[in-house]
């Protein structure tokens, strides 16, 4: 298990760094899918196999493809220099990220977790489904949250269509001129 944990942690974190510092946007998207695949491996290790399947289907499958579509629609030539993909907040951003990561890691590492143990989760998919639908005791709020999430997804789909719809007679290139940045 430790070997699998080390492998997945390395895969997840290296891919996450690749998303940030890759010059090619398509490479960033592929690094992101690798990182999310590592997270789904963690879900398997944490006794949530159904959630790992969701993760692979939704993130590694759907979200990556949607982002690749977005990249294709807004494509521009690959940046030749690292300088051009980042803004002026490189060191300030690194400082903030190191502060957040260091603070959280310190807090979580020094906390006493000795009264916890693995295997308390809903390993059985039936238990997981009962939790998600608010049937099992203690999870009644999920009956409401499930409905709210379904309405939210419907609104998101309609909003995505409305926002990205090309209006008839719309002037394509108004506003800013083509600066060819990035």
């Amino acid at each position: 298990m430790t070997v699998a944990f080390a492998f997945l942690a390395g895969m997840t974190l290296v891919s996450a760094l690749g998303v940030v510092i890759s010059r090619n946007v398509v490479h960033s998207a592929l690094f992101m899918s690798g990182s999310l695949l590592g997270i789904s491996g963690f879900f398997v290790m944490l006794n949530a196999p159904a959630l790992a399947a969701f993760q692979v289907l939704i993130y590694v499958g759907a979200v990556t493809v949607v982002i690749l579509f977005g990249i294709m629609f807004t494509q521009r030539p690959q940046a030749r220099r690292f300088r051009t993909i980042i803004n002026r907040q490189f060191w300030a951003g690194l400082l903030v990220a190191l502060g957040v990561g260091g603070f959280l890691s310190y807090l979580l590492a020094t906390e006493d977790w000795s009264d916890t143990s693995a295997g308390n989760g809903a390993v059985d998919v039936a238990d997981f489904g009962n939790n998600l639908l608010g049937v099992s005791p203690g999870s009644e709020i999920f009956a409401l949250l499930f409905e709210v999430a379904s309405v939210l997804l419907l609104i998101a789909v309609v909003a995505a269509i409305v926002v990205s719809r090309r209006k008839s007679g719309e002037d394509v290139n108004r506003g800013a001129v083509d600066r060819g940045a990035e």
């Binding site: 996450a16 629609f73 490189f90 590492a109 916890t116 999920f142 990205s164």
Partner: protein
Amino acid sequence: MPPIVQQVIDALTATPPLAGYLIVGAIMFAIGTWGALIRRNAVVVFMCVELMINAVNLTLVAFGDFLPGEGGLGASYAVLVIAIAAAEIAVGLAIVLAVFRSRRTVNIDEVNSMRG
């Protein structure tokens, strides 16, 4: 089998502690924060937000598996987070497409006016 080999095998097959998962999640969240702060391309900023959401998901599921008496509700919350993140990515990319169509750029340093 010599005891040192047995110790190594025990160490390699031991269950990772809760803090390991939480620290991986924290570092991943920090990397996502960094990317969202420094990158210029709006699509890459979305990817970094996805990384942050997934780091939080990992933390939720780790707590759901490790905390006693919690009944594994962390994984159920993670499903809701995944649904909301999917909605966010759909609407966000639609906005990016609309901005690109009117301005011919997805550089968020240049998109500083709400007027189309």
